[in-house]
Subunit: 224 residues, 2 copies
Protein backbone atom coordinates (compact mmCIF):
# COMPACT_ATOMS: atom_id res chain seq x y z
CA UNK A 1 0.00 0.00 0.00
CA UNK A 2 1.27 3.43 -0.92
CA UNK A 3 1.92 6.19 1.60
CA UNK A 4 -1.25 7.92 2.75
CA UNK A 5 -1.63 11.65 3.29
CA UNK A 6 -4.48 13.95 4.18
CA UNK A 7 -4.61 17.72 3.79
CA UNK A 8 -7.12 19.22 6.19
CA UNK A 9 -8.33 22.57 4.95
CA UNK A 10 -9.27 25.00 7.70
CA UNK A 11 -9.05 28.36 6.01
CA UNK A 12 -12.61 29.44 6.72
CA UNK A 13 -13.20 32.77 8.39
CA UNK A 14 -16.37 31.34 9.94
CA UNK A 15 -18.32 34.55 9.48
CA UNK A 16 -21.62 32.70 9.16
CA UNK A 17 -21.38 31.69 12.82
CA UNK A 18 -21.32 35.27 14.02
CA UNK A 19 -18.65 36.13 16.57
CA UNK A 20 -14.92 36.19 16.02
CA UNK A 21 -13.95 32.56 16.49
CA UNK A 22 -13.71 30.70 13.15
CA UNK A 23 -15.95 27.64 13.22
CA UNK A 24 -13.12 25.11 13.11
CA UNK A 25 -12.01 26.22 16.61
CA UNK A 26 -15.42 26.12 18.25
CA UNK A 27 -15.71 23.36 20.86
CA UNK A 28 -18.09 20.59 19.85
CA UNK A 29 -19.10 18.50 22.87
CA UNK A 30 -16.02 19.84 24.66
CA UNK A 31 -13.40 19.65 21.91
CA UNK A 32 -12.64 21.95 18.94
CA UNK A 33 -14.18 20.80 15.65
CA UNK A 34 -10.79 20.69 13.93
CA UNK A 35 -9.30 18.31 16.51
CA UNK A 36 -12.18 15.92 15.94
CA UNK A 37 -11.57 16.01 12.20
CA UNK A 38 -7.87 15.25 12.67
CA UNK A 39 -8.73 12.44 15.09
CA UNK A 40 -10.95 10.77 12.49
CA UNK A 41 -8.02 10.39 10.08
CA UNK A 42 -5.58 9.35 12.78
CA UNK A 43 -8.03 6.68 13.90
CA UNK A 44 -8.22 5.43 10.32
CA UNK A 45 -4.43 5.13 10.00
CA UNK A 46 -1.90 6.00 12.73
CA UNK A 47 0.79 6.42 10.07
CA UNK A 48 -1.10 8.84 7.84
CA UNK A 49 0.75 12.09 7.06
CA UNK A 50 -1.59 14.82 8.34
CA UNK A 51 -1.09 18.32 6.90
CA UNK A 52 -3.23 21.12 8.31
CA UNK A 53 -3.68 24.26 6.19
CA UNK A 54 -4.52 27.09 8.58
CA UNK A 55 -4.37 30.90 8.12
CA UNK A 56 -0.97 32.14 9.25
CA UNK A 57 -2.65 34.54 11.68
CA UNK A 58 -4.05 31.54 13.57
CA UNK A 59 -0.93 29.40 13.89
CA UNK A 60 -0.01 30.70 17.35
CA UNK A 61 -3.59 30.29 18.57
CA UNK A 62 -3.71 26.72 17.28
CA UNK A 63 -0.49 25.91 19.11
CA UNK A 64 -1.97 27.23 22.36
CA UNK A 65 -5.15 25.29 21.75
CA UNK A 66 -3.18 22.05 21.21
CA UNK A 67 -1.37 22.64 24.51
CA UNK A 68 -4.60 23.43 26.32
CA UNK A 69 -6.33 20.26 25.09
CA UNK A 70 -3.11 18.17 25.30
CA UNK A 71 -3.69 17.35 21.64
CA UNK A 72 -0.86 14.99 20.75
CA UNK A 73 -1.70 13.66 17.28
CA UNK A 74 1.32 14.38 15.06
CA UNK A 75 0.55 16.79 12.21
CA UNK A 76 2.22 19.45 10.09
CA UNK A 77 0.85 22.97 9.81
CA UNK A 78 1.11 25.07 6.65
CA UNK A 79 -0.18 28.54 5.84
CA UNK A 80 -3.73 28.56 4.53
CA UNK A 81 -4.16 30.60 1.39
CA UNK A 82 -6.71 33.15 0.33
CA UNK A 83 -8.97 30.43 -1.09
CA UNK A 84 -9.35 26.70 -0.64
CA UNK A 85 -7.36 26.23 -3.84
CA UNK A 86 -4.37 28.07 -2.40
CA UNK A 87 -4.60 26.20 0.91
CA UNK A 88 -4.53 22.81 -0.80
CA UNK A 89 -1.65 23.95 -3.00
CA UNK A 90 0.37 24.91 0.08
CA UNK A 91 -0.48 21.60 1.72
CA UNK A 92 0.62 19.61 -1.32
CA UNK A 93 4.17 20.93 -0.88
CA UNK A 94 4.41 18.64 2.18
CA UNK A 95 3.13 15.54 0.37
CA UNK A 96 5.65 13.14 -1.14
CA UNK A 97 3.84 10.75 -3.43
CA UNK A 98 1.34 8.05 -2.54
CA UNK A 99 -2.34 8.79 -2.06
CA UNK A 100 -3.67 12.09 -0.73
CA UNK A 101 -7.06 12.97 0.66
CA UNK A 102 -8.38 16.49 1.05
CA UNK A 103 -10.78 17.04 3.93
CA UNK A 104 -12.87 20.01 5.02
CA UNK A 105 -11.70 20.95 8.51
CA UNK A 106 -15.32 21.46 9.51
CA UNK A 107 -16.44 17.91 8.63
CA UNK A 108 -15.55 16.05 11.83
CA UNK A 109 -18.11 13.24 11.49
CA UNK A 110 -16.68 11.32 8.58
CA UNK A 111 -16.76 7.66 9.63
CA UNK A 112 -13.86 5.26 9.60
CA UNK A 113 -15.70 3.13 7.02
CA UNK A 114 -16.14 6.11 4.74
CA UNK A 115 -12.47 7.17 4.91
CA UNK A 116 -11.55 3.56 4.18
CA UNK A 117 -13.97 3.44 1.23
CA UNK A 118 -12.55 6.63 -0.30
CA UNK A 119 -8.86 5.74 0.14
CA UNK A 120 -9.45 2.17 -1.03
CA UNK A 121 -11.17 3.33 -4.24
CA UNK A 122 -8.19 5.64 -4.87
CA UNK A 123 -5.90 2.62 -5.30
CA UNK A 124 -7.49 1.88 -8.66
CA UNK A 125 -8.98 5.30 -9.49
CA UNK A 126 -6.93 8.49 -9.78
CA UNK A 127 -9.64 10.74 -8.37
CA UNK A 128 -12.38 9.69 -5.91
CA UNK A 129 -15.11 11.74 -4.28
CA UNK A 130 -17.97 10.80 -1.96
CA UNK A 131 -21.47 11.99 -2.87
CA UNK A 132 -25.01 11.78 -1.52
CA UNK A 133 -28.42 12.31 -3.13
CA UNK A 134 -30.37 15.53 -2.75
CA UNK A 135 -33.58 15.23 -0.73
CA UNK A 136 -34.70 18.68 -1.94
CA UNK A 137 -36.00 19.73 -5.33
CA UNK A 138 -33.44 21.88 -7.13
CA UNK A 139 -33.63 24.87 -9.45
CA UNK A 140 -31.06 26.50 -11.67
CA UNK A 141 -30.92 30.29 -12.00
CA UNK A 142 -30.94 31.40 -15.63
CA UNK A 143 -30.51 35.06 -14.69
CA UNK A 144 -31.28 37.16 -11.57
CA UNK A 145 -35.01 36.61 -12.00
CA UNK A 146 -35.64 33.50 -14.03
CA UNK A 147 -34.94 29.95 -12.97
CA UNK A 148 -35.85 26.44 -14.09
CA UNK A 149 -36.33 23.11 -12.38
CA UNK A 150 -33.54 20.59 -12.74
CA UNK A 151 -33.85 16.82 -12.44
CA UNK A 152 -32.67 16.10 -8.90
CA UNK A 153 -32.24 12.39 -9.60
CA UNK A 154 -29.21 13.41 -11.70
CA UNK A 155 -27.67 15.67 -9.04
CA UNK A 156 -25.31 14.63 -6.25
CA UNK A 157 -24.12 16.65 -3.26
CA UNK A 158 -20.35 16.46 -2.94
CA UNK A 159 -18.61 15.72 0.37
CA UNK A 160 -15.04 15.13 1.52
CA UNK A 161 -12.57 13.41 1.80
CA UNK A 162 -11.80 13.71 -1.89
CA UNK A 163 -8.93 11.33 -2.52
CA UNK A 164 -6.35 11.33 -5.33
CA UNK A 165 -3.08 9.90 -6.56
CA UNK A 166 -0.70 12.51 -5.13
CA UNK A 167 1.12 13.08 -8.43
CA UNK A 168 -2.19 13.70 -10.23
CA UNK A 169 -3.36 16.25 -7.66
CA UNK A 170 0.01 17.97 -7.61
CA UNK A 171 0.04 18.27 -11.39
CA UNK A 172 -3.53 19.61 -11.35
CA UNK A 173 -2.66 22.28 -8.78
CA UNK A 174 0.16 23.61 -10.94
CA UNK A 175 -2.47 25.28 -13.12
CA UNK A 176 -3.65 28.79 -12.27
CA UNK A 177 -6.67 29.41 -10.06
CA UNK A 178 -10.14 29.65 -11.62
CA UNK A 179 -13.40 30.76 -9.98
CA UNK A 180 -15.01 27.50 -11.01
CA UNK A 181 -12.71 25.52 -8.70
CA UNK A 182 -15.08 24.94 -5.76
CA UNK A 183 -13.52 21.64 -4.75
CA UNK A 184 -10.51 19.47 -5.57
CA UNK A 185 -12.35 17.27 -8.03
CA UNK A 186 -13.07 20.33 -10.16
CA UNK A 187 -9.34 21.13 -10.34
CA UNK A 188 -8.43 17.58 -11.38
CA UNK A 189 -11.32 17.43 -13.80
CA UNK A 190 -10.07 20.55 -15.59
CA UNK A 191 -7.06 18.41 -16.48
CA UNK A 192 -9.34 15.91 -18.24
CA UNK A 193 -9.23 13.23 -15.55
CA UNK A 194 -12.40 11.28 -14.75
CA UNK A 195 -13.68 11.46 -11.20
CA UNK A 196 -14.91 8.24 -9.58
CA UNK A 197 -17.86 8.57 -7.20
CA UNK A 198 -18.33 6.60 -3.98
CA UNK A 199 -21.12 6.66 -1.40
CA UNK A 200 -21.00 9.52 1.11
CA UNK A 201 -22.84 9.77 4.43
CA UNK A 202 -25.79 11.92 5.49
CA UNK A 203 -24.16 12.44 8.89
CA UNK A 204 -20.91 13.71 7.32
CA UNK A 205 -22.15 17.29 7.70
CA UNK A 206 -20.19 20.52 7.39
CA UNK A 207 -20.33 22.66 10.52
CA UNK A 208 -21.20 26.08 9.12
CA UNK A 209 -24.11 27.39 11.19
CA UNK A 210 -25.06 27.36 14.90
CA UNK A 211 -27.70 24.74 14.02
CA UNK A 212 -25.00 22.51 12.51
CA UNK A 213 -23.04 22.77 15.74
CA UNK A 214 -26.06 21.67 17.75
CA UNK A 215 -26.74 18.84 15.31
CA UNK A 216 -23.11 17.86 15.65
CA UNK A 217 -23.49 17.50 19.41
CA UNK A 218 -26.40 15.16 18.78
CA UNK A 219 -24.38 13.06 16.36
CA UNK A 220 -21.65 12.68 18.95
CA UNK A 221 -24.09 11.88 21.74
CA UNK A 222 -26.04 9.23 19.85
CA UNK A 223 -25.57 6.14 17.76
CA UNK A 224 -27.11 7.70 14.64
CA UNK B 1 -57.19 39.98 0.68
CA UNK B 2 -58.30 36.83 -1.12
CA UNK B 3 -59.21 33.63 0.65
CA UNK B 4 -56.19 31.66 1.80
CA UNK B 5 -55.80 27.89 1.59
CA UNK B 6 -53.05 25.43 2.34
CA UNK B 7 -52.79 21.83 1.19
CA UNK B 8 -50.59 19.83 3.52
CA UNK B 9 -49.15 16.81 1.77
CA UNK B 10 -48.51 13.84 4.04
CA UNK B 11 -48.43 10.93 1.67
CA UNK B 12 -44.97 9.70 2.59
CA UNK B 13 -44.50 6.09 3.56
CA UNK B 14 -41.59 7.12 5.77
CA UNK B 15 -39.52 4.08 4.91
CA UNK B 16 -36.26 5.93 5.39
CA UNK B 17 -36.95 6.14 9.13
CA UNK B 18 -37.12 2.41 9.50
CA UNK B 19 -40.07 1.05 11.46
CA UNK B 20 -43.69 1.13 10.46
CA UNK B 21 -44.81 4.59 11.56
CA UNK B 22 -44.67 7.12 8.69
CA UNK B 23 -42.53 10.07 9.68
CA UNK B 24 -45.37 12.58 9.75
CA UNK B 25 -46.88 10.77 12.77
CA UNK B 26 -43.71 10.49 14.81
CA UNK B 27 -43.80 12.64 17.95
CA UNK B 28 -41.36 15.54 17.85
CA UNK B 29 -40.78 16.94 21.34
CA UNK B 30 -44.03 15.28 22.41
CA UNK B 31 -46.29 16.06 19.46
CA UNK B 32 -46.64 14.45 15.99
CA UNK B 33 -44.72 16.26 13.25
CA UNK B 34 -47.87 16.75 11.18
CA UNK B 35 -49.72 18.53 13.99
CA UNK B 36 -46.83 20.97 14.29
CA UNK B 37 -46.97 21.67 10.57
CA UNK B 38 -50.72 22.34 10.72
CA UNK B 39 -50.23 24.59 13.77
CA UNK B 40 -47.73 26.75 11.89
CA UNK B 41 -50.33 27.65 9.25
CA UNK B 42 -53.12 28.11 11.77
CA UNK B 43 -50.86 30.48 13.74
CA UNK B 44 -50.26 32.45 10.55
CA UNK B 45 -53.98 32.84 9.83
CA UNK B 46 -56.81 31.43 11.95
CA UNK B 47 -59.13 31.60 8.95
CA UNK B 48 -56.95 29.69 6.53
CA UNK B 49 -58.62 26.69 4.85
CA UNK B 50 -56.42 23.73 5.83
CA UNK B 51 -56.65 20.62 3.65
CA UNK B 52 -54.67 17.57 4.69
CA UNK B 53 -53.89 14.94 2.04
CA UNK B 54 -53.30 11.65 3.86
CA UNK B 55 -53.31 8.03 2.60
CA UNK B 56 -56.81 6.61 3.01
CA UNK B 57 -55.39 3.74 5.07
CA UNK B 58 -54.29 6.27 7.71
CA UNK B 59 -57.47 8.31 8.09
CA UNK B 60 -58.78 6.32 11.04
CA UNK B 61 -55.39 6.44 12.76
CA UNK B 62 -55.18 10.20 12.26
CA UNK B 63 -58.63 10.63 13.81
CA UNK B 64 -57.52 8.64 16.87
CA UNK B 65 -54.33 10.66 17.08
CA UNK B 66 -56.28 13.94 16.99
CA UNK B 67 -58.47 12.68 19.84
CA UNK B 68 -55.47 11.50 21.85
CA UNK B 69 -53.68 14.85 21.54
CA UNK B 70 -56.91 16.87 21.77
CA UNK B 71 -55.92 18.44 18.47
CA UNK B 72 -58.67 20.96 17.74
CA UNK B 73 -57.44 22.97 14.75
CA UNK B 74 -60.13 22.76 12.07
CA UNK B 75 -58.98 21.00 8.90
CA UNK B 76 -60.32 18.86 6.09
CA UNK B 77 -58.85 15.47 5.25
CA UNK B 78 -58.69 14.08 1.70
CA UNK B 79 -57.23 10.87 0.36
CA UNK B 80 -53.55 11.09 -0.48
CA UNK B 81 -52.69 9.75 -3.90
CA UNK B 82 -49.98 7.47 -5.14
CA UNK B 83 -47.61 10.41 -5.65
CA UNK B 84 -47.36 13.95 -4.39
CA UNK B 85 -48.96 15.10 -7.67
CA UNK B 86 -52.06 13.02 -7.01
CA UNK B 87 -52.28 14.14 -3.37
CA UNK B 88 -52.20 17.81 -4.34
CA UNK B 89 -54.76 17.19 -7.08
CA UNK B 90 -57.13 15.61 -4.54
CA UNK B 91 -56.56 18.51 -2.15
CA UNK B 92 -57.32 21.09 -4.82
CA UNK B 93 -60.86 19.73 -5.11
CA UNK B 94 -61.52 21.35 -1.71
CA UNK B 95 -60.09 24.76 -2.64
CA UNK B 96 -62.46 27.43 -3.94
CA UNK B 97 -60.40 30.25 -5.43
CA UNK B 98 -58.08 32.67 -3.68
CA UNK B 99 -54.49 31.81 -2.91
CA UNK B 100 -53.27 28.30 -2.15
CA UNK B 101 -50.06 27.12 -0.54
CA UNK B 102 -48.73 23.57 -0.74
CA UNK B 103 -46.71 22.41 2.24
CA UNK B 104 -44.71 19.27 2.94
CA UNK B 105 -46.30 17.64 5.98
CA UNK B 106 -42.82 16.89 7.30
CA UNK B 107 -41.67 20.54 7.32
CA UNK B 108 -42.98 21.68 10.71
CA UNK B 109 -40.46 24.49 11.29
CA UNK B 110 -41.54 26.99 8.67
CA UNK B 111 -41.65 30.34 10.47
CA UNK B 112 -44.57 32.72 10.59
CA UNK B 113 -42.46 35.33 8.75
CA UNK B 114 -41.70 32.91 5.98
CA UNK B 115 -45.33 31.84 5.47
CA UNK B 116 -46.22 35.55 5.38
CA UNK B 117 -43.46 36.26 2.85
CA UNK B 118 -44.62 33.47 0.52
CA UNK B 119 -48.34 34.28 0.68
CA UNK B 120 -47.67 38.01 0.36
CA UNK B 121 -45.55 37.54 -2.77
CA UNK B 122 -48.37 35.44 -4.24
CA UNK B 123 -50.64 38.50 -4.31
CA UNK B 124 -48.65 39.91 -7.22
CA UNK B 125 -47.03 36.73 -8.56
CA UNK B 126 -48.98 33.70 -9.75
CA UNK B 127 -46.41 31.18 -8.52
CA UNK B 128 -44.04 31.66 -5.57
CA UNK B 129 -41.49 29.28 -4.09
CA UNK B 130 -38.95 29.68 -1.27
CA UNK B 131 -35.35 28.68 -1.97
CA UNK B 132 -32.00 28.58 -0.18
CA UNK B 133 -28.41 28.34 -1.42
CA UNK B 134 -26.48 25.09 -1.49
CA UNK B 135 -23.55 24.92 0.93
CA UNK B 136 -22.24 21.78 -0.83
CA UNK B 137 -20.52 21.43 -4.17
CA UNK B 138 -22.80 19.76 -6.67
CA UNK B 139 -22.28 17.31 -9.53
CA UNK B 140 -24.53 16.23 -12.34
CA UNK B 141 -24.59 12.59 -13.48
CA UNK B 142 -24.09 12.27 -17.24
CA UNK B 143 -24.60 8.50 -17.15
CA UNK B 144 -24.23 5.79 -14.46
CA UNK B 145 -20.47 6.34 -14.29
CA UNK B 146 -19.62 9.80 -15.52
CA UNK B 147 -20.48 13.06 -13.85
CA UNK B 148 -19.48 16.72 -14.08
CA UNK B 149 -19.24 19.60 -11.66
CA UNK B 150 -22.00 22.19 -11.84
CA UNK B 151 -21.78 25.81 -10.73
CA UNK B 152 -23.42 25.78 -7.29
CA UNK B 153 -23.81 29.56 -7.24
CA UNK B 154 -26.52 29.05 -9.86
CA UNK B 155 -28.37 26.30 -7.95
CA UNK B 156 -31.07 26.76 -5.32
CA UNK B 157 -32.60 24.16 -2.99
CA UNK B 158 -36.37 24.33 -3.12
CA UNK B 159 -38.52 24.38 0.04
CA UNK B 160 -42.21 24.76 0.82
CA UNK B 161 -44.73 26.40 1.15
CA UNK B 162 -45.04 26.88 -2.59
CA UNK B 163 -47.85 29.38 -3.06
CA UNK B 164 -50.06 29.99 -6.11
CA UNK B 165 -53.17 31.66 -7.41
CA UNK B 166 -55.64 28.83 -6.89
CA UNK B 167 -57.04 28.99 -10.42
CA UNK B 168 -53.53 28.74 -11.88
CA UNK B 169 -52.64 25.69 -9.78
CA UNK B 170 -55.96 24.01 -10.51
CA UNK B 171 -55.50 24.52 -14.23
CA UNK B 172 -51.94 23.18 -14.03
CA UNK B 173 -53.08 20.04 -12.21
CA UNK B 174 -55.59 19.22 -14.94
CA UNK B 175 -52.67 18.01 -17.07
CA UNK B 176 -51.53 14.41 -16.82
CA UNK B 177 -48.80 13.32 -14.42
CA UNK B 178 -45.17 13.36 -15.55
CA UNK B 179 -42.11 11.91 -13.80
CA UNK B 180 -40.44 15.31 -13.91
CA UNK B 181 -43.06 16.76 -11.53
CA UNK B 182 -41.09 16.70 -8.26
CA UNK B 183 -42.82 19.73 -6.80
CA UNK B 184 -45.76 22.04 -7.53
CA UNK B 185 -43.66 24.69 -9.21
CA UNK B 186 -42.62 22.15 -11.83
CA UNK B 187 -46.27 21.43 -12.65
CA UNK B 188 -47.12 25.12 -13.03
CA UNK B 189 -43.95 25.76 -14.98
CA UNK B 190 -44.91 23.08 -17.52
CA UNK B 191 -47.82 25.42 -18.34
CA UNK B 192 -45.38 28.19 -19.21
CA UNK B 193 -45.88 30.26 -16.05
CA UNK B 194 -42.87 31.97 -14.47
CA UNK B 195 -42.05 31.02 -10.91
CA UNK B 196 -41.10 33.81 -8.50
CA UNK B 197 -38.45 32.96 -5.90
CA UNK B 198 -38.42 34.21 -2.31
CA UNK B 199 -35.97 33.60 0.52
CA UNK B 200 -36.35 30.28 2.35
CA UNK B 201 -34.93 29.33 5.74
CA UNK B 202 -32.11 26.97 6.69
CA UNK B 203 -34.14 25.78 9.68
CA UNK B 204 -37.14 24.88 7.49
CA UNK B 205 -35.91 21.29 7.26
CA UNK B 206 -37.74 18.22 6.06
CA UNK B 207 -37.95 15.46 8.66
CA UNK B 208 -36.85 12.42 6.69
CA UNK B 209 -34.19 10.67 8.80
CA UNK B 210 -33.72 9.93 12.52
CA UNK B 211 -31.04 12.65 12.53
CA UNK B 212 -33.57 15.18 11.20
CA UNK B 213 -35.91 14.26 14.04
CA UNK B 214 -33.17 14.90 16.59
CA UNK B 215 -32.24 18.16 14.89
CA UNK B 216 -35.91 19.09 14.99
CA UNK B 217 -35.99 18.65 18.74
CA UNK B 218 -33.08 21.04 18.98
CA UNK B 219 -34.82 23.62 16.81
CA UNK B 220 -37.86 23.47 19.09
CA UNK B 221 -35.79 23.65 22.25
CA UNK B 222 -33.66 26.61 21.20
CA UNK B 223 -33.94 30.06 19.75
CA UNK B 224 -32.02 29.18 16.58
Amino acid sequence: MKRKNVIIVAGGKGLRMGGDLPKQFIPLAGKPVLMRTIEAFFAYDNDINIVLALPLSRHAYWKELCAEYRFAIPHLVVAGGETRFHSVKNGLALVEGGIVGVQDGVRPFVSNEMIKRCFHAAITHRAVIPVIDSTDSLREMIDDEKSKIIDRSKIRLVQTPQVFHADVLQRAYETGFKDTFTDDASVVEAMGIDVHLVKGEVTNIKITTPLDLKTGELIIGSSL
